[in-house]
Symmetry: D2
Subunit: 346 residues, 4 copies
């Protein structure tokens, strides 16, 4: 059904949620065909045995990465855990363009990576120059790149809200109170992710220590031309599957902040800056889409402003953004395969 | 089954969630019997027709407030919306001790009440002297009172976390990012509270304008001996029924804050201050109980501290606390009828 | 973006869930443009004020039905409650092709309609000849029709499972135990549909009296060439938003039943008959799609068989099937606008 | 707080849900103290590290079963998986009264056990005479027993509904369509029990093969004085944590069935037979309690009747019933420790 000249894509780590979501979204891409899905312990199964919703045209055999016919693959989506991801990506043939959804190439500073993720980086030189694939900020630069690092889900929402305004606000005032659905924790088997323990309850986690904070700081400092901006980042696990909301508490001027956001995203196809005074954005309104909605509110305390952003953590927060990045790497329209996604409501 | 000398209680507004919860909890109180349940449009029904879980010994006919035999009533629990609540409470006979769960007597300043709730107060003189029933702070003072105002659910959690430390922290640094289950919105019929619209999603509401902020400020200022403390208060609606979590971002010293909380609540039967380094508290761990769990975390930004408190909004956040207040008004052990409640997990 | 020759569609009753879902799905249809959305009490608003997920290209002003420029409308989707639906449909100009999602034209017998729905039918003669739009069964016949009645959500799942086998099984043995998400109850404001009352619980409803039973019987009798088949139909409300599962308990031969289903649906693009021995189908696997999955299991009691079917009640159970019907009325490929829908999992 | 003469109880397998629930419920029992909690891989931890809601007076160190001071233990609650349970129970000292919540002693026929559970029984002679602890049916007989087998959660609800009527109905007509919350699957780590996979969806499981069916048949045959009654039993996993509902489709006379149920349970403290014509029972109305609600409905098909029963699977379906059984073994009032439980709603 797709054009002959389609890219052939391999999805590395197709047995996790971001892998499955990448396969699902690629099915709607006019110029890319998923031709390989890799897995380790599940190799030998069909993808549809692991994810029955992928039965039919999206089905693929799961194979070990070493068994992929790499000659026939143009692009790889890295949907593996950090560490495992670079172990594999560093072995891929040079002709394979790679979009890495893991944390492995997000931090330019390999020492910071080692400190944050608890293992040395295999390729410090490379991570220092890999582009950070937040498409609304690096769009032009991504064309022709062979490896792009997709931002984490929390950094995506946080940076889309904060990058346009970091020069307008008190940079030392940033407090990000973040909330994510359980799918953000992946498919790993932990008691806390069981339905009976995640439903009907709520808690914070990684308070003061979450690994996404250095990533957010890296980009804010870069944008502000500084090196000392630190952010408070406090994530919470919400009893829902998909969706992420960041509540950013900052000091600044509400009108200036609104104007900066509107100016920045005037032509961004996936970003909506709601008019001042709008109802609050809800994760439901972007569920299943690559969209981000941002809204600004004056706080009751003079000089404080609340900026809220919502995304679907598995789409704009990972697989959708990865495809948007591929589109930009190829010089295509960035909305290919993503424009038709509509929020599933109710 | 109960002692002859039991108090006779009327629950005003028994067709809402706090009314039903008050009836439920009173069934376990050794010295109080619910003898009347009032409702307006539902008068004439049995309580069990509205709330089938109250069938059996807890069942009562719902009657109009004017049809209650007030001579036989010792104590009233006001479970009505603000406004409606004072309209009725101001007409009750003088011998009826009243615990008001609405917002009507929480603000000492009737002008602030009028401004916040959009109607003048019927009895400005009275509201100025009614005790604010946060039992851990007003325990001794409540004895012998005839009207006590129960704090709002958000103020309960926020103040339990912040009152002990307000003199230790930068009072201008307080940012409360709050999260509540849907039962906090009551039983009113609004699209946003439908299952199909509240499940699998998340949004903030009342950003910068929520009515609980002035209440929190009133008590913080009182405790700090100031009048100019303002707080950022940003609540979020969480897709769960019961439970409330407040994430308080403050500037201060983590050890000093921990010490202040431990000192204050060393003997408080319902408050647990978790040791430094504990896993984060979860609303599930207090569901169905009058307990509050508080935990303190150093932030990654030097000088910032995160204080988290969890409660069940319908128990410690309303009906349970109301009963605790009654116990104190009567000079009883404050845990009567509440000590046996155990968290329902999973 | 769409071809010039697109049909112009009006969605009647766009403020309910099936109306919103029809607008959403039409956005992906290559030959149809939604040009009007009607509502009564909400006329004057934008659709996106009611349903924020419809902001953008799918947005429309909500107008009263009498204010639609019917000359410019080719097709109408009736997304109104029964009764209200025929009141409007009977007034539409003759050139408007109509797909009615309500119950108003499903029963051929106007007396049975009156008895089931508690009001006389406006047009008994018409309802007697309107085609029952279960596309897998009436595909050819729908071409050129001007009014088609979409089956109810429960009848859709039940009949897809039972029609192919009704001649193979004991027709007096049919027991349908059905389960639906809360969105099936629509957007009406009732306590039982509040999050706090629908979450974390489960109940049957309409036991022995549900209005979908006569509809199921009508079609089963027609297919079996009988008039006396009665079915037990017991629906349950499940704490989820979308999805419907019917568990059909019948007497028959498992292999014969499997063969009949496979033969019938060999070429049906939206129906999957799972191989014998498959894992049980889950509503998640069809969420957001027009698909139906059917699976057959031998019971432990000899001679009894369990047939399970799952659909998304808002897509195959209403709006998606309506579009499939339009495609067939127009003589188009029945998958237009629907083939690209993929199940949202997790 | 409790009487000196309290029994000392050990909870075997305290790291699962039924173990935790038993500890929780024993805290409210006036004559029993939990003094030991056993676990295998988690031995060495405090129970509150595994289940934070058990912090405080209910906390206990988790120890290996072989490290329990059995001399000081009067009663053991077996909360282990089948197989593991008998392995331990067969080694307990003779003075320890045991209530086994596993399946190990439910089937009198050791061959049927072996066939159903895939391993031979260690003590065929014993399982043949152990009392099946459905207290409403075996109340008198349990006094003085040293080992009682608690029914499975599904058999509890099913048998409470069907035992009183099995002689009144067509015994070959029984179809049980059952629904359970996810906690019924225990705390084992499986993808299907993850929040992201269990929420917002629904499926049947164990169709035609579930292990609870032989148990139901054993008791129905015993009561009916037959040996050939077989039941269709089809369970479904519902996206909620607690609660179980069985929909029993039978042939019989509605009035006779209602009368039989009312007669049987007239004095049963935990069983409510709702009057004919009542609203359908909901699992919410019994959540957290040892109650069972049963309701009878005439079907639209003449001669068919629907009987519905709801329980909390972790209380009446396991730990609560276990305590009720202990009460009867001891000759105590069967409601001790259970009478005060009230349904948590909303």
């Amino acid at each position: 059904m797709k054009a002959q000249a389609s890219l052939k894509a391999a999805v590395l780590g197709a047995s996790g949620y971001t892998g499955a979501e990448t396969v699902r979204l690629l099915a709607g891409h006019p110029h890319v065909d998923a031709v390989a899905a890799t897995g380790h312990s599940l190799a030998g199964k069909q993808l549809s045995e692991i994810f029955p919703h992928l039965a039919g045209p999206t089905d693929l055999p799961v194979v070990k990465a070493e068994d992929v016919a790499w000659d026939e693959v143009d692009v790889a989506f890295g949907c593996l855990p950090h560490g495992t991801s670079q172990d594999l990506i560093e072995t891929l043939p040079a002709h394979v363009k790679t979009i890495d959804l893991s944390a492995d190439y997000r931090l330019r500073d390999a020492d910071l990576y080692a400190q944050t993720y608890g293992r040395p980086h295999l390729n410090a030189e490379r991570t220092a120059r890999v582009k950070y694939g937040l498409p609304e900020w690096r769009g032009e630069e991504l064309k022709g790149e062979t490896l792009v690092a997709c931002p984490g889900c929390y950094p995506t929402a946080s940076l889309l809200a904060l990058l346009p305004i970091i020069r307008d606000i008190d940079p030392d005032s940033v407090i990000i109170d973040a909330k994510s659905g359980v799918s953000g924790a992946g498919r790993g088997l932990k008691e806390g992710n069981l339905f009976s323990e995640a439903a009907e309850g709520l808690h914070a986690y990684g308070v003061g220590t979450h690994r996404h904070a250095p990533e957010i700081e890296q980009e804010l400092n870069l944008q502000a031309g500084r090196s000392d901006i630190g952010v408070t980042f406090t994530p919470h696990l919400i009893p829902m599957t998909r969706g992420e909301l960041v509540t950013c508490h900052v000091r600044g001027d509400v009108d200036q902040i609104q104007a900066a956001l509107e100016a920045k995203y005037a032509d961004a196809p996936f970003i909506s800056v709601l008019p001042l005074g709008s109802p609050t954005p809800d994760t439901r309104h972007v569920r299943g889409t690559n969209n981000c909605r941002i809204a600004v509110y004056p706080d009751r305390v003079k000089g404080r402003v609340v900026v809220i952003a919502v995304i679907d953590n598995l789409v704009k927060g990972s697989s959708g953004q990865a495809i948007q990045n591929l589109n930009l790497m190829m010089g295509w329209d960035e909305t290919l395969g993503l424009a038709g996604l509509q929020a599933l409501f109710p």
